[in-house]
Symmetry: C2
């Protein structure tokens, strides 16, 4: 195998030695051997090969088709492997990023989607429930969330087929069936659970259980969603696809980017009270592009509820956590018109929406040590036309 | 191993030769070898051992710790194995049911819960939204559903710890935290997906994808649910535990029990229109007991939406199906006061609710050939007191 040397990183490259996100890749010469790599600039460190070459005790954890065994190994191992990876940067082996195929980096156990941006929830409330208060009475007391479909979480780069379903505008007498006419994005940040838990995870134990961070585009069919979601929440308007980045950036990479969440306007119950905890926010700058043009720059630092609060809430009822559980922030929106994380908000519910052929890309970075940048892997996806579903009987693939 | 012979089956035993449900069991002499068994009366046919003894081509599918490989093998294999099992009844080997330990029979991929009893949805609507129409405008046009937590699906016999969380009655100024005071059951019927699908599954293809049927108790904390569920649906009020029967009865066992669903009062879109399809209902009689006393007899034949319609709806947007996907009917309630599938309805929202130590058991049977009965495995669970969660920081396991 010819040895590839990574080019020298440009100033501000978000994938330098302080980031080191993990992913799963294959190469053209071994398409049936998915294994774990680490992104470094525009290269991929073959972590599985490096571990074997250095006789690492963790070689078996890295010669795997998913990150799950590494996720399950626990925080002490995550820290030890990260330290080893740093030393392996000196001699690789590396592959050019453009030459590898990236796969879904972990097997998703349960997927929970939160709704933790006050700006987003307020904007959506105004659009979906124009006659009521924009925020429901519970919103400032608990991080609202719901379960999504784990089986349709796909890796960045996977095409997204336009979903079909029932739509009914308030003025229509009956619902109609067809391709969604209001296909949208949701720019979110996802958290990947490593260490399982059989008991509630308090705010202070967040780092023991969460391995890392990814970008999420929670594609949404607003017309399907509006018709179906009362009273049991979103279902087919979301379940057709959720895209995640191919790279999971370890939580420890964001130590310099910790930031206090917005001031709380309502008293919090003790299990959610983070006033005495380490700052729970992360100062991530997200950029949303559609067909290469920037449409928004949502600030993750504006989120009302933190990931530690989400995890504490999600488990306080006794729900167990599994390795591979994914929970996402909900749409990230800031207070400014150019900081909104979905087209629903960016267009005040009027569209235009995504068209067939549109390609959406999310990127994000946070401040690192000494002026460096810590990146999340991008999430990209292109819209394909809806499938043909015959009027009766079996659908045509 | 001493050979155990099953006693002669009593007239009407719901686990005779026309039922033959699959489960996963261990014996005291081999606690680390979970394998597939078939219930026959009060005995368990060791299907893995029988297959090996007979040199069955399917032996490897039955020497497994979960049903998933058998589920994934597809309908032709399901039918072939069922025919083989019938012949193995002649010579076993069998174990007494009381001597084996039963395990979660399959690895749950995604769990979807529907809301398909008109009686239940109407009763709940009156209780939760007394000022509005009991049924939401979409209810007669689509089978409403939402995703539940797959990771907290547990096998019958698993104790259920009373969940804690936020509750707020309308008269309260602020929510409070503590053990649920309104812990409830939901008697449901679940369908287990075998063959995966990458495209919408039309009504006619239901049997190609669904392997079998189980009983489900979708435990519900009504106080948590009432406070959290607007606008994104139930979350912690449900996610602490969902119990399923240890036995999965093959769909083919219910051929004699097919029944037409109630007359549709609203026109259906073509993908849900079952007016020309085989009868989609199943005439299952469910019995709910609390501490041994019968509290309800919900009739599954009264369900407005059928499992085939649920599957068609769940996939019409392009959502893929995986082996091990579980979808449940929603609470089964009939029109009569003694046919209601949850305490919320049985007590008109006033309680009493489940107390610590209460044991709930669901059983069900359907008519089989020649007057026989086809059983679902029972679902039982006992309520344990809530965990102690300190006011701050880490929860105590």
């Amino acid at each position: 195998m010819p040895q590839h040397s990574p080019r020298e990183l440009a100033e501000g490259d978000p994938f330098g030695a302080d980031t080191l996100p993990y992913g799963v890749f294959t190469t053209a010469d071994a398409p049936d051997r998915p294994r774990i790599g680490v992104r470094y600039g525009d290269s991929v460190l073959d972590a599985a090969a490096a571990a074997a070459a250095h006789g690492s005790a963790h070689a078996a954890l890295l010669e795997q088709p998913t990150l799950n065994p590494l996720l399950a190994a626990g925080r002490a191992v995550w820290q030890a492997v990260r330290a080893e990876v740093r030393t392996w940067l000196a001699d690789g082996p590396f592959h050019p990023l453009a030459d590898v195929t990236l796969h879904l980096p972990f097997q998703v156990a349960d997927y929970v989607d939160f709704y933790s941006s006050e700006h987003h929830a307020t904007n959506v409330g105004r659009i979906f429930r124009p006659d009521g208060e924009p925020l429901t009475p519970n919103w400032k007391h608990l991080p609202i969330g719901y379960h999504g479909r784990a089986g349709t979480v796909v890796v960045s780069g996977t095409d997204v087929v336009r979903p079909q379903g029932q739509r009914k505008a308030p003025a229509d007498a009956l619902p109609s069936f067809g391709p969604s006419r209001r296909l949208d994005i949701e720019a979110e940040v996802g958290f990947v659970v490593g260490t399982p838990a059989g008991a509630p995870v308090g705010l202070a134990d967040f780092r023991e259980h969460v391995f890392g961070v990814c970008l999420v585009n929670d594609w949404s069919a607003r017309d399907l969603q509006a018709w179906e979601y009362v009273p049991l929440g979103p279902f087919l308007g979301k379940s057709f696809a959720t895209s995640v980045s191919a790279w999971i950036t370890p939580l420890d990479a964001f130590d310099e980017a910790r930031t206090a969440p917005p001031e709380r306007t309502h008293p919090l119950l003790p299990y959610l009270d983070d006033s005495a905890a380490e700052p729970g926010g992360i100062d991530l700058s997200i950029e949303v592009t559609v067909n290469g043009a920037t449409v928004s720059r949502p600030p993750f630092s504006a989120m009302y509820w933190t990931a530690a609060q989400q995890l504490a809430h999600m488990t306080v009822n006794g729900a167990t956590l599994r390795t591979g559980d994914l929970f996402a922030s909900g749409t990230v929106s800031g207070p400014e018109p150019d900081q909104l994380g979905c087209l629903l908000e960016l267009t005040a519910g009027k569209g235009p929406w995504l068209e067939d052929g549109d390609e959406v890309t999310l990127t994000a970075w946070a401040p690192g040590p000494d002026g460096s940048r810590i990146g999340l892997g991008e999430v990209t996806g292109r819209i394909l036309p809806a499938r043909d579903v015959p009027a009766h009987g079996t659908a045509t693939p």
